[in-house]
Symmetry: C2
Subunit: 344 residues, 2 copies
DNA sequence: TTGAAAGCGCTAACAT
DNA sequence: ATGTTAGCGCTTTCAA
């Protein structure tokens, strides 16, 4: 074991409590004493034993960020911001993957790690509002993403229905009329898929267009491969779409690949757009039109709310926060002839 | 506070030690007793308080994976494997980012979190062999990647010189003669950049070709944008290259983008290859030729070695492990006319 | 302004 | 096979 408070106390000729107060600043310490203690700390190279502190305080200083897929770049970028914010507030953030599995999500919700984490930032995709209401776990909880609404917890997300509408309106403004949606979710209640699908439907309805069921493709997951496979099915239709809206950027990128493999061009033959604004889409060929949520903001804000909750700061009641987003029009829906404008 | 061992002991009418033994299995417990204790545990919903356990044991059950950039997909894919392996062995893995900063790396090396982590898997890029030899930290350490060699720690990596040679030999076999290298590292000692550059040089030398200094481009970082900017400089040369080898897949993808923006084609005009085999390169247009290290293997193996070290298992002395890799030839260097073969 | 001491929940050495 | 108990390092109440 390393250097402990007791070692410092002995060295400085003071009591344990005094050293603790120099370290934590809970109550005033005389200037003389403080100096002696600080010197001992420096000489011996003391750092607090966190396990002991946590045992005593009943807190661990660890918060978790639970997301469906670890290697979805959207979450990686979000996590990056969250980790930095957490570190700045004296917390360590650990990432947990639910694998988009309902049972695992329920476990996380009920505090599978309740003794190791002080709080949870959760991006659920399979559980429902009722699951959250019925939860027995008590660790502070902040929800992100569009999984669940109307629950007594902080909830940070963009308005997915509105975002989807903006994308589809953009495609309509380009003159596209057979607009497909990839990623409707395969039977399970991926709530965010429902919301994005709803925005898609609303935009079509507002334009007086019918929703053609064969243009709405469900997928098992929401990765590149899922987008690719779904797009192949769309290309096999008698009348393929002239535009595709992907559930997220990964799905859209998979669709772009499938279109190229079929010898068609994006955007000339088929325009493609996604949601998330992952960096990949800013360098792909063609670059990808997308909805850009402020990931940095979401990540930092979620951590701030959670830490406030943990530390019992007086704060506003649970809020449903809709952060702004913007449409990034790039080559995959750009006007023709606009290919290969320099990026970066 | 929640339910403690004492609560269970009272409920089951046994001693603390017995409950502890039911939970941990350190010594045998009678069948009758075990059943009663287990029932109490189930009824009261007991879970061990990890802070207490850690305080007592002197270990935290947390290991760290320190990498240069959190949102480099290569590391995300590696981390995914490592996190699963760690969980399987009863450890929680936290990710730390060094930001490829030398001071931060030194801090990590000397145990900036010594009280919170039991061990460290470290992928350094700026520190040197001497830094590692001089380290004062004592937490068990496993090195991954090509940052440092010949130090008394486990070290897991692919042979970067050999891998680079394979890539360049492949480009040579395609008949390319002006082969550029992007990502030589800008002055700082990014050891892995040196190694990959060495492989590049060796392959050219073996083919009896000179190394043209203007075809070797240093970059600040190793992301998509760096590849893009470097490639623009190469395209501005009097005689641009007919092939490009990127330090990693991200750099290569940036280069592909720059080539397209300049109105040239990959691979017809310029062939491009990288290292890492990130999923992005399997769906990009064109798909990216690359070196595929076994990320799953590296991640799991690093965790296994580290945990063995932590738990003091008798094990072989520190080893320098070179894991196998293979060349994945895809469209970006494929024979002409091979575009858009179906992937997936 | 400072000190003494209890006790957070657990494990492991020592007893029985 | 089971029980008793010391003590990991820290924070915090009560006293001085």
């Amino acid at each position: 074991m390393g250097v402990s408070l007791k070692d410092i106390a002995q060295r400085a000729g003071v009591s344990l409590a005094t050293v603790s107060n120099v370290v934590n600043g809970y109550r005033p310490v005389g200037e003389q004493t403080r100096r002696r203690v600080q010197q001992a700390i420096d000489e011996l190279g003391y750092t607090p034993n966190l396990s002991a502190r946590h045992l005593r305080r009943g807190r661990t200083g660890i918060i978790a960020l639970a997301i469906p897929e670890l290697n979805n770049p959207y979450f990686a970028e979000l996590a990056d911001a969250a980790i930095r914010e957490a570190a700045g507030l004296g917390y360590t953030l650990v990432m947990e993957s639910s694998g988009a599995d309902r049972d695992l999500e329920l476990l996380l919700l009920d505090g599978s790690r309740r003794h190791i984490i002080d709080g949870l930032i959760f991006s659920p995709v399979r559980i429902t509002r009722d699951d959250v209401l019925a939860r027995t776990g008590t660790v502070p909880l902040v929800l992100i993403g569009e999984g669940v609404y109307d629950v007594p917890h902080d909830h940070i997300a963009i308005d997915n229905v509105a975002a989807s509408r903006v994308v589809v309106e953009h495609l309509l403004a380009l003159g596209r009329r057979r607009i497909a949606f990839i990623g409707a979710g395969a039977g399970q209640d991926r709530q965010s898929a429902q919301l994005r699908l709803r925005g898609y439907r609303e935009a079509l309805a507002a334009a007086g267009l019918p929703v053609d069921a064969e243009l709405v493709v469900a997928t098992e997951q929401f990765g590149r491969r899922d987008g690719l496979l779904a797009m192949r099915r769309l290309l096999a239709l008698d009348t393929p779409p002239d535009a595709v809206f992907g559930y997220n950027d990964l799905v859209a990128i998979g669709a772009v690949r499938a279109i190229g493999e079929a010898g068609r061009r994006v955007p000339e033959d088929i325009a493609v757009a996604g949601i998330d604004d992952i960096e990949e889409g800013r360098f792909s060929t063609p670059t990808l039109t997308t909805i850009a949520p402020d990931k940095e903001h979401i990540g930092r804000f979620a951590v701030q709310r959670l830490v406030a909750l943990i530390e019992g700061a007086p704060l506003a009641p649970p809020a449903d926060l809709h952060l702004p987003f913007r449409l990034e029009v790039r080559e995959s829906t750009g006007p023709l002839g606009d290919r290969h404008r320099a990026v970066g």
